[in-house]
């Protein structure tokens, strides 16, 4: 299976934050949800792919090309959508086409006009008068009109109402239907990932916590609940994000370790949202333990 995106050993340090050994890949024809809490490094990774941020070490390949040396060739075939508008808001959709068209060899005006019509974007209004959902659709229309084979979206659904979010996800699902194109979208709305992603990469504190298929992720982790005294010995270390209450505890663990649990404990499949929450809880617990030691 050909990878449309490959990141190997990406390292990047800022003051107070670092991406550490980030590696993952996305095969052609699939959608990858790129999730993690705020500040986990999603946007920095995306900016590195786009050569907007200079990384310290590692290698990024898009379409098999080097993200730094071949950035212009890559961007010819890449569509990008950010969470906020990067287009001048005093222009109408026709003027925006005139702005972007000269930069792309494969710009297709008919495709752009069809997208604008399909998305129901008004042609007589300036972009400043558009709703957030309309602005997002406009950026998608621009991204799709130069025959992009790969789309990168950074938090595209944040701030959108449920209807606009649903429409955007449908657009992405339709985009990869020909199995030649791929989508990488970062989000912290995990229901969007559950709905359309084939692959998931979870970034936590600048490191890849998980990368693989969505099914692997959700089948490999379970939420455990019950009384604390029912936890068999040697299992507590395997619990992620352990949290005890007056009436019991809850935590997450790998599904493969559930054989060692007693029948008194309840287990259920973890959702991506729960996985993120337990990762954050585990992090907090480790920090508290460190503080207690000090």
């Amino acid at each position: 299976m050909e990878n449309i995106l490959e990141i190997k050993g990406l390292n990047k340090t800022y003051e107070g934050f670092a991406l550490r050994d980030v590696s993952f890949s996305l095969p052609r024809g699939y959608i990858m949800g790129f999730v993690g809490e705020n500040g986990s490094g999603k946007t920095t990774t995306i900016r590195s792919i786009l050569d907007m941020a200079k990384f310290d070490s590692g290698k990024i390949s898009v379409f098999g090309l080097d993200s730094v040396k071949d950035t212009i060739a890559i961007k010819e075939k890449l569509g990008v959508v950010f969470d906020s508008l990067y287009i001048a808001d005093n222009l109408n959709v026709k003027q925006i086409e005139q702005q972007f068209k000269p930069f792309y060899k494969d710009w297709n005006s008919d495709e752009y006009a069809a997208r604008i019509k399909k998305f129901g974007l008004p042609t007589d209004k300036t972009v400043g008068d558009f709703s957030k959902g309309m602005k997002m659709k406009l950026m998608v229309a621009v991204a799709l009109s130069h025959n992009a084979e790969f789309m990168i979206l950074d938090e595209p659904t944040s701030g959108l109402d449920p209807v606009a979010r649903d429409e955007l996800l449908d657009i992405l699902a339709e985009y990869i239907e020909d199995e030649k194109r791929s989508v990488l979208f970062s989000t912290h709305i995990t229901s969007d990932v559950e709905r359309i992603a084939d692959y998931v990469t979870i970034l936590h504190n600048g490191k890849v916590w998980f990368t693989g298929t969505k099914d692997d992720l959700t089948e490999n982790y379970v939420v455990v609940k019950g009384a604390e005294e029912d936890i068999p010995s040697g299992i507590k270390e395997k619990l992620i994000g352990f949290h005890s209450y007056r009436n019991g505890f809850d935590a997450m663990m790998k599904a493969e370790d559930t054989d060692m649990l007693s029948d008194e404990l309840e287990t259920e499949k973890a959702s991506i949202d729960e996985i993120l929450v337990y990762i954050a809880k585990e992090d907090r617990r480790e920090r508290d333990n460190e503080a207690d030691k000090v």
Binding site: K54, L91, Q95
Partner: protein, 246 residues
């Protein structure tokens, strides 16, 4: 060069809705005044200001963190963004200078103001025949010198400010605008003072040549020097920002 032209077009498109009516309005006023033979370089200053409306909003937008991200998306060399910014600035100012000088020339030929009622005709005639600013003791600083001087100073100052804005990554603010205008005004006052008080009489002919040929050579040399400085500022900005993150 193709990339730079595409980017200039991109910036032009960003500003065109707001800049075009403003610039066309100014140009129409200037053309009417020229037709009646009363175009004065003071109106040329308005042309310079309105030409800035074509590049300043787009360049300001480019220094805004949201809009700057378009630089990470378009398939264009990073250096071309900087070069386009400087090219459009210099081109707009030079175009304003040339238009102003042409309109001054045409205005000198037209005597359409003679159709006005006598009082207005006298007033217009004074404007028409005025060749420059009388600075006393028979000294005149010609308007043509002032137009060239203003344009040259604007090229140097605006490109310098562009360089600073690119390196320091901030948007143009009112301090920059004040800096430009105060710089131009101070330079003109100092020049006039030098001529009026004959502080350095031996250099007077160099400062403001009295012959047409001398004026042309002086103008071309000054503009070329200003453009060269602008290119230097561009190269510095290009080099300093090469590793910047977008």
């Amino acid at each position: 060069m193709k990339e730079i032209m595409k980017l200039i077009r991109f910036d032009f498109m960003t500003s065109v809705n707001s800049a075009l009516p403003f610039f066309c309005g100014m140009l129409i006023i200037c053309l009417i005044l020229t037709a009646f033979g009363v175009f004065n370089p003071v109106f040329g200053v308005f042309l310079f200001i309105s030409s800035a409306a074509f590049f300043a909003p787009a360049q300001n937008a480019a220094n805004n963190p949201d809009f700057r991200r378009v630089r990470g998306i378009l398939p264009v060399n990073r250096a071309s963004f900087v070069r386009a910014e400087f090219t459009e600035t210099i081109a707009a100012l030079l175009a304003s200078e040339i238009i102003t000088l042409i309109l001054m020339g045409i205005s000198r030929l037209s005597k359409l103001y003679e159709i006005f009622p006598p009082k207005l005709e006298v007033f217009c005639k004074e404007i028409h025949t005025c060749d420059g600013i009388d600075v006393g003791e028979g000294n005149i600083v010609k308007f043509v010198h002032l137009v060239i001087l203003v344009c040259v100073l604007l090229i140097v100052q605006v490109t310098f400010i562009n360089m600073r804005a690119a390196i320091e990554r901030h948007e143009h603010d009112i301090r920059n605008v004040l800096l430009v205008f105060s710089g131009v005004i101070i330079a003109i006052i100092v020049s006039i003072e030098l001529v009026t008080n004959r502080i350095i009489p031996q250099y007077e002919e160099w400062l403001f040549p009295s012959t047409d040929a001398g004026t042309w050579i002086w103008g071309i040399a000054l503009n070329a020097a200003a453009v060269a400085l602008g290119i230097l500022f561009c190269r510095i900005a290009e080099k300093k920002t090469a590793d910047y993150e977008i």
